[in-house]
Symmetry: C2
């Protein structure tokens, strides 16, 4: 009897369950559930308005995803509950919520349901920028050693700024919160009845290091705000479990709601981009995984700890047990191409695409493919949404250079692709310059299958071979693999994530290899990119920040 | 009996005659004639193919303009030939042709009609760049003092490179040419039967200075090419007449063809942008005239000679007798907005404009008008067609900085307008920094009437009041004014261009005055523009040239 594991991937707009064979990683069935309340950025369900920069979610939607999709994939596949040995989830992060000591979300309590701070703060809730700025200034002033592990800056999207915002703006909610917890850990708590915290979100989003060092010190928290001094022991947890750990078994009630067996192994929570790494078959250092979509998240393993400036973070056991997991990222990639098509591609080009029977991106890709490297005469800085790695600066903006009266839309499109490739190349060079090897690339996510030109350009610009995940659902596949490890070999799963990856992870046949002539040409363009990158990004010319200030002042 | 003068303006695609009252400058009638052969950039009339970068014209088209339009304006207005006391023309430049010693265009000779070099080379014939480069290198090496008067560089569009190209590529045509002559002077020769040369084109396009210094020396020409040593005495003329001079009277034959009286005064030839200066009522120093269209030509008078780096040229009597005339320019202005609308404005914005019942430029202008200075967050370098003044570098390219995922087309449109205004401001600062005062601005041409936002931005960016010519035909009006001066007061015309301007030139009621708050904001943006301008334009970062080389190499 073939055994299966369930992987559930919680995205920004919907959740998706995939039922996967432990024999070979094939997908038996998949089901998607849109969040009933979506992203709440205008008002609460009762109409209470929200300020700008807010982004909340409804935790009931997360449970609905489980109840809708899991029975569906079982029914569709005909697979029996006893064949399902484990379950894992992957989530956006830092997506966090306040609960009481028993794990009940505070927004579920009728008396608190009209309080915005009682709800889930989605990863892209950006209203804690003030708190993040003050936290970074304080950490820098005190010489906190952990700051370097986050590339020198804690993001406004992460856990501590979000908690501090709650304290500042609604101290009653702060007081009522027995726990502040990542949504990924909260869902696992609902499934198992056991509170756990995973090493990935604790490390990358919560400024947790290891059992000995733990979180920043009470002294640091007190220097931020005296009321925060005991936040760790009062509201968080020092019991952090490595990924692949068994959080517990499905509770009888939850098992009944989902159509699974009570006691089915459940893995501790995980994060989407990080779960994708073993799903690409990567279980060793030197292989950079790119989760490519609206943005790119880069993950990488190393046996050694290195401080790499400008990375998002390095966490021990943060991606796979036994390794230091490194994360870096580009804050806009697919988003830039989407902006371009919507805001800067003329009607004529849309009409040409329609006449050719092609979707506009596909049409632009085809025309851009006819150009040789350098032929557009254009060079861009890919900072339409700021720069995450390696400059960690949201105030940087996009640049396009080389326009003439003959510049065509497909030339600009190619220059934008190239700029994002140069951004990835910069991240790779930054890792290798600081002792973290990058030998090969692995890609997953929506972009690789959509745009072959982009993949070839990334191979040419980085000078490295790119392997593609065979799965279109790598975060869910990775989550299922961790579910199999939580079950263990004795229950028909696997004892290690490496063993799971050997059987379950597959690569596409197609491989993108660098074309030597292109590599040489792009090397010249990349050198020019780096000059501009450092000139505008490292303080020699602060025009982008000046423009942002003038813009803010003009409004 | 009211007296009239005729002004004929020869453009790139058509010629236009305007009949103007000498009493008050009002237009009695106007008529346009498209050139039958247009711009010949693919082949000669007999099908002989042309290389790229070539741009020729047919001299018969210039005569047809006269024969079509002058009888028309007389008939339409009912004005009698005896009321027309003078005629002047304004032309593109350097637009030149080879003729025999009697003034017959070589291309009119059947045995030479299939030889491309026998035809008129239009101003935008760009195939003499090699000759221009070699001329500039040679002049620089020899320390030729005249080079500084042309901003340090002779353009490939000008007379000597074009002559040298003929010599290099078709020495028989060079040998057969009794004259190389500007088209503006050739047309006057046809009208009067007398060969004359005007101080404007000789000075700005022919490297002529004054009666004493003349042209570059035979020694210089020999160092270019021994065959050129005697080019001035053999093919040009040292008899250069100041503007407003009477070239002669209409020949009886020509008078009969045009319906005018024989002996009607004809002024020496002139150039369109330069004729516009007195037509704006400008007859004194300190008033910069901007002829604004696809590009901008800036003209300015001074009583003193100053060497201004990066100007197009300074010529004694080159614009008005008695003054040093300065010229500078921006190689693309309206052309950039046209490129933007065609290549980068999305279908959505066109649809919005159509729904609002507005032309697309007018719609973008309206939306851009709602922004305050700096509110777009964007800053551009206006080098879509290189930079004429003050950098004199055709290899520079356009730059846009400040893009975000929220950047809208009307914001980019405004940033493009602002960039061209910063370009004009740079030219003004360059004049004033080198001793040539600029107190007020005067605008004429197609752009001012089309785009009021643009005019206000120019006033705000330059901190100067802008007056607008009341005439839509300033080059033709200026030409007519010089025709009136050629006739003289005794014949019912005027004795000086100043007197003509007092009666005939009028300004629009509308004046654009700088708005103090905008001036202060734009000062901050302009400082940023200048930093980028110098960084990319003066050698600190040669990325634009590197990209052009890579582009050329990729093709």
């Amino acid at each position: 009897m073939i055994k299966y594991a369930l992987g559930v991937d919680y995205g920004t707009e919907s959740g998706r369950a995939v039922l996967i064979s432990l024999a070979d990683g094939t997908e038996a069935a998949t089901a998607v559930c849109q969040y009933r309340h979506g992203v709440m950025d205008q008002s609460l369900p009762d109409g209470t308005p929200l300020d700008s920069e807010w982004a909340l979610q409804h935790p009931a939607d997360y449970l609905e995803v489980l109840e809708q999709t899991i029975p569906n994939v079982l029914a569709e596949s005909g697979i029996k509950p006893e064949q399902v040995v484990g379950l894992g989830i992957a989530f956006t992060a830092c997506t966090m919520l306040p609960t009481d000591a028993q794990g009940t979300a505070l927004c579920f309590k009728p008396e608190l349901a009209n309080r915005p701070h009682a709800w889930v703060k989605l990863w892209k809730h950006h209203a804690a920028q003030d708190e993040a700025n003050r936290l970074n200034a304080c950490a820098l002033e005190r010489g906190e050693t952990w700051l370097a592990r986050y590339g020198g800056k804690i993001s406004a999207e992460w856990l501590i700024p979000k908690i501090w915002q709650i304290l500042n703006e609604d101290p009653e909610i702060y007081a009522a919160a027995g726990r502040f917890i990542e949504a990924t850990d909260w869902v696992i708590w609902q499934l198992t009845g056991v509170e756990t915290r995973n090493s990935c979100t604790a490390g990358y989003k919560g400024i947790y290091w290891d059992k000995q060092s733990g979180y920043p010190t009470p002294d640091f928290f007190r220097s931020l705000d005296p009321r925060l001094e005991r936040v760790v022991e009062e509201k968080l947890s020092r019991n952090i479990l490595p990924l692949g750990s068994r959080a517990g078994g499905l509770t009888p009630q939850m098992a009944a709601r989902l159509g699974l067996l009570p006691g089915t192994a459940v893995a501790v929570g995980n994060v989407d981009a990080h779960a994708a790494l073993p799903a690409c078959g990567v279980t060793a250092p030197g292989k950079l995984v790119m989760a490519m979509g609206t943005s790119i998240c880069h993950t990488l393993l190393s046996s050694e700890l290195h401080v790499v400036p400008g990375m998002c973070g390095v966490v021990e056991d943060g991606i796979l047990p036994g390794y230091y997991g490194y994360e870096a990222g580009q804050s806009a990639v697919g988003d830039i191409f989407a902006w371009f098509v919507e805001h800067a591609v003329p009607a004529r080009t849309h009409a040409e695409a329609a006449a050719a029977g092609k979707e506009i991106h596909a049409y632009l890709e085809e025309k851009a493919s006819a150009l040789r490297p350098g032929e557009s005469g254009l060079l861009a800085l890919d900072w339409w949404n700021g720069n995450r790695s390696v400059l960690v600066d949201t105030d940087l903006t996009g640049l396009m250079l080389g326009y003439t009266l003959l510049t065509e839309p497909h030339e600009v499109y190619r220059a934008l692709i190239e700029a994002t490739a140069f951004g990835t190349r910069t991240i790779i060079d930054n890792f290798t310059d600081h002792g973290v090897a990058v030998d090969e690339l692995y890609a997953c996510g929506g972009l690789p299958e959509k745009n072959r030109l982009l993949m070839q350009i990334y191979a040419d610009v980085t000078g490295r071979t790119i392997h593609l995940s065979a799965s279109k659902q790598t975060p869910a596949l990775g989550a299922a693999m961790f579910g199999a490890v939580a079950a263990g070999a004795g229950a028909g799963g696997y004892d290690t994530i490496e063993a799971a990856a050997r059987s379950m992870a597959h690569l596409a046949d197609e491989v993108f290899r660098p074309i030597p002539d292109h590599v040489a040409r792009y090397e010249q363009l990349y050198q020019q990119y780096r000059i501009l990158h450092d000139y505008f990004g490292r303080g020699a010319n602060d025009v982008m920040k000046v423009l942002k200030e003038l813009k803010a002042d003009a409004r």
